[in-house]
């Protein structure tokens, strides 16, 4: 009986401690410095790489047309937007929704890994090809 009580108690610990820690799908902080298309295990696998086709500022959604089709996503206040200036040999900058402009090449990664229509984006990398291309803060 004591053994059962111990096990039940520990199972409760398991549920509380273990269940409270989400899937470790990547430490995002160094992710910002990885150029578009080179994120290990993600690029060419679960991310969408393509051109922004439409931008809806009111809904904060964008549609990206890539080789795997057209994908829409919602840009939340938690979505990281990074301006990839590696082709210019310049450091990555933090971006804003204003940097998501039609015709720009982006790489999009959905929250929770799975691609889904209008699903929230965890991060979006925007390829910047001109030094003044970002409307963002450093």
């Amino acid at each position: 009986m004591a053994r059962l009580g111990f096990l039940m108690g520990m199972v409760a610990i398991g549920a509380l401690l273990w269940g409270g820690t989400p899937y470790a799908h990547g430490q995002k902080t160094t992710e910002m410095f990885i150029p578009m298309g080179q994120s290990p295990g993600l690029s060419g696998n679960v991310t969408v790489i393509g051109t922004i086709e439409t931008v809806n500022a009111r809904d904060r959604t964008i549609v990206v047309a890539g080789s795997s089709g057209r994908w829409s996503t919602t840009v939340t206040k938690h979505t990281h937007i990074w301006l990839d200036r590696s082709k210019l040999h310049l450091p990555t900058q933090y971006g804003t929704f204003a940097d998501l402009r039609k015709g720009r090449m982006v790489e999009l990664y959905y929250e929770g890994r799975e691609r889904r229509d209008k699903g929230p984006a965890e991060w979006i990398k925007v390829k910047v090809t001109e030094p003044s291309g970002g409307a963002a803060r450093q």
Partner: protein
């Protein structure tokens, strides 16, 4: 013209003949035919070369700068003190572009490395200081049902968060030439093939399987320590360190739970040595917000993350201190005693343990020593296993590569001697280990008796092991 044979020419011919025989013996010894390495072995060898030598066109550091094989793939202040001032580990001291890459005093005195785990948007105020975890036994400690756990908080890798991707994040964080961190300028990123090789090498290090406890230990003190470690009413250690590894007990956390994160209150330890010297931010552990997500919402104490850190294996603990993510505790006895203190017992993990079992952890001084003795003995057993593996490997490779195996066998043997001797454990086994170390050194120096001395060293290692465990 007829050759006139004098005494001198005969003697010269004899000497030449002897020399020729010697050369032939040397040639035969060094031209032994070895089977070609299998593809996995080749991948591991490539990974090893990258791990120890590849700078990725950065500031000169390699993976081995912080994970040296001769120091259990980790660094501590004693090891750091042996390095020359121009070692790339100290790049922040001599490269003005990288002056804030590290906190030099914390690196030299406490082995703490600066990590921007919570973002690069405020480099002055937003960073963590962490010890270097060893990379041993990763094949049995990195996986969890919730995905791979890398680094101290389990979220150390970019990309898909895997061990394979970890190297990419490490290059960006630690190898950069400037704080701009521009790929192709400040470093180059590892290629897919290099990531494969680095992962294969890291997974090949140390144990490839967990122990099965209880072990039939011979020492009374270590045996009692093992009982306490496994006991659900006293030590309660195996709930999170099943079989003294890094994984949660499947009876509690479910089959395949694997490596887990907990908030054990280490950050709340009073008088942390490094914080007595310098002020630096509180480490929030996993993620960048209180829920473990990535929203950059701080905790009330200013830290970022859900305060949890992942569970390291304890088989390799005794010779790879200091302990915990912040190197706050120097000895294995101190690490065991941590679980007696307020920092743990008042932590979320400690409180839940108390609620589930009716009490916190409250070991007496003798019991702390006994659990530590158990951890020292299983560490020594692992050192012996690895020493025998390295000695055996030295017999299977060309002479030019054997020295590296013998060097590692000596390092492992030194560790096994140290972890036992420091607590007065098994002096009889220590004597055999000292003999094994001497024989291994002789093997490394000898041309003709290398194999013989190596086999004798293996025999001494086995004798030592037989005194520790049935």
């Amino acid at each position: 013209m007829a050759k006139v044979w004098t005494r001198h020419t005969v003697k010269g011919a004899a000497q030449s003949g002897l020399a020729a025989v010697c050369v032939s013996v040397f040639a035969l010894a060094s031209c032994q035919t070895l089977p070609p390495p299998d593809p996995q072995a080749k991948l591991i060898a490539k990974g090893r070369d990258l791990f120890l030598n590849e700078t990725f066109e950065g500031n000169g550091r390699t993976c081995g700068s912080c994970h040296p094989p001769e120091n259990n793939f980790t660094i501590d202040s004693s090891f750091i003190a042996t390095l020359p001032d121009d070692n790339p580990l100290f790049v922040a001291e001599f490269n003005p572009d990288l002056a804030t890459l590290e906190r030099p005093e914390l690196l030299r005195k406490f082995g703490l490395i600066l990590e921007n785990l919570d973002g690069f948007d405020d480099l002055e105020n937003k960073f963590t200081m962490r010890g270097v975890p060893h990379t041993l036994g990763l094949s049995v400690s990195v996986n969890s049902a919730l995905g791979p756990r890398t680094g101290w908080s389990g979220d150390g890798a970019p990309g898909d968060g895997s061990l394979r991707s970890f190297a990419t994040g490490a290059v960006i964080q630690h190898f950069t030439k400037t704080l701009n961190r521009v790929a192709g300028v400040d470093f180059r990123l590892p290629t897919d093939e290099e990531l494969d090789a680095l992962e294969a090498f890291q997974l090949s290090l140390g144990r490839q399987a967990d122990l099965t406890l209880p072990l039939p230990l011979r020492g009374t003190i270590a045996k009692r320590g093992q009982e306490i470690f496994l006991d659900r009413n006293t030590g309660k250690c195996s709930a999170c360190h099943v079989n003294a590894g890094a994984n949660g007990d499947p009876n509690i956390f479910g089959a395949g739970a694997g490596n887990l994160n907990f908030d054990t209150g280490v950050e709340n330890l009073p008088d942390q040595p490094a914080r007595l010297v310098e002020t630096f931010p509180i480490d929030g552990g996993f993620g960048t917000d209180p829920d473990g997500g990535s929203t950059n919402v701080p905790n009330p104490d200013g830290s970022f993350g859900n305060k949890t850190f992942n569970t390291p294996p304890v088989v390799e603990a005794a010779d790879s201190g200091p302990f915990f993510h912040n190197n706050a505790v120097q000895t294995i006895e101190g690490a065991v005693a941590f679980y007696n203190g307020d920092a743990f017992n008042n932590s979320p993990a400690g409180q839940l343990l108390r609620g589930a079992t009716g009490s916190g952890i409250n070991l007496d001084g003798t019991q702390v020593d006994e659990v530590a003795a158990f951890l020292r003995v299983i560490n020594a057993l692992e050192n012996i296993r690895e020493s025998i593996a390295q000695l055996g490997a030295s017999l299977d490779v060309h002479r030019s590569k054997a020295d590296e195996h013998l060097k590692l066998a000596i390092a492992e043997t030194k560790d096994s001697i140290l972890v036992l001797k420091a607590a007065g454990l098994h002096p009889d086994a220590v004597a055999h280990l000292k003999k094994a170390k001497r024989l291994t050194r002789k093997a490394a120096r000898s041309w003709f008796f290398r194999s013989k001395k190596t086999r004798e060293a293996i025999s001494e290692q086995k004798k030592a092991r037989a005194l520790l465990v049935e």
